[in-house]
């Protein structure tokens, strides 16, 4: 342990334009973004819960009729595993296990993210075909406000992963690249955290 403790996190240190400090500062900025995103999700969750009354179903499909446990379980498994594989990529960077190992774990994460999105797209297609469209009832509007919002975030994460893989392939594991991957890791783990809320409130709460 050093005697001089360098402030971590949100504190901006004047005159210390060190690479390490910059990474810590950009990470803190990303934390601020994620927490404001958390509030958006929080309000979407609140809206969804207020739309769980019989009046809000408007004679349309209810959560019990609409949601299926196996589909939600597979989506959950894909996303939870992807958060672990991203952790493995972060460890490979932290302990210099080589570029190919980092890229391999990121590729596995990407594949699991795509599997998640495919499962979700299949679920939405099925719902829309059943006539469970957003304009059918207040409940469905709230559902299609909340769950696809998370899906859009995952799509953004997938695109970001592809970009990072291209960058790694071109430039190797540079300082800026690992700093970007550190932020992407936060984003990815955060999306899995939001998904815990979605499968608990929407799917399990709806089916129980």
């Amino acid at each position: 342990m050093n005697i001089v403790v360098r402030p971590h996190g949100l504190t901006w240190v004047a005159g210390h334009d060190h690479d390490h400090d910059r990474i810590a500062t950009t990470l803190s900025g990303f934390w601020l973004f994620m927490m404001s995103d958390l509030i958006i999700f929080g309000l979407m969750f609140a809206t969804y819960v207020t739309m769980l009354t019989p009046e809000s179903f408007a004679g349309g499909p209810t959560p019990k009729e609409l949601f299926e446990l196996p589909g939600a379980a597979m989506e959950t498994a894909a996303l939870l595993t992807s958060t672990f594989t991203f952790g493995m990529a972060s460890l490979a960077i932290k302990y210099d296990r080589g570029l190919s190992k980092v890229m391999l774990w990121l590729l596995v994460t990407l594949a699991l993210g795509v599997v998640f999105l495919a499962l979700e797209a299949r679920e939405f297609t099925y719902m829309l075909a059943e006539g469970a469209v957003p304009q059918r009832s207040g409940f469905l509007s709230a559902f299609f406000g909340l769950v696809p919002l998370h899906g859009t975030h995952v799509t953004a994460g997938v695109i970001w992963l592809v970009i990072m893989l291209i960058e790694l392939n071109r430039t190797g594991l540079t300082g800026p690249a690992s700093s970007r991957i550190a932020r992407l890791a936060l984003f990815w783990h955060f999306l899995d955290l939001i998904w815990v809320g979605i499968f608990s409130v929407v799917y399990l709460g709806g089916i129980a």
Binding site: L38, G42, T50, F84, M88, L193, G197, S200, L204
Partner: protein
């Protein structure tokens, strides 16, 4: 390259790896239990809802601790405060909104 230094780095790696493994194991467990409860329908709806809610909150803490690496250490204090503040805001907004709207709902009926 001294031998003790490499060993301590290897130990640090294994320590971090174990962190992710523990997190993954706990998260999987906390996911499987509520899914199994809902699938089997052992308990009443209300009891199942309580279990889902409590295990969901515990799982969020597990994710924050093992994947986002925010704990009670001094180094992560600012992220922790930021997160607790955001959680407080979200709780106020959700609880306030639900309270108000369900109250309105009862009055309108």
């Amino acid at each position: 390259m001294s031998a003790p230094k490499t060993r301590s780095r290897e130990q640090a790696y294994r320590h971090d790896l174990r962190g992710y493994q523990t997190g993954f194991f706990l998260a999987a467990l906390l996911t499987i239990i509520p899914f199994a409860l809902v699938a089997s329908g052992t308990f009443s709806t209300i009891a199942t809802m309580w279990v889902i809610g409590v295990l969901g909150l515990v799982q969020i803490v597990v994710h924050v601790r093992y994947f986002l690496h925010v704990d009670l250490s001094r180094q992560r204090r600012e992220e922790l405060y930021l997160m607790l503040f955001s959680a407080a805001l979200v709780t106020l907004m959700i609880a306030g909104m639900l309270w108000m709207l369900f109250n309105q709902h009862t009055r309108m009926m």
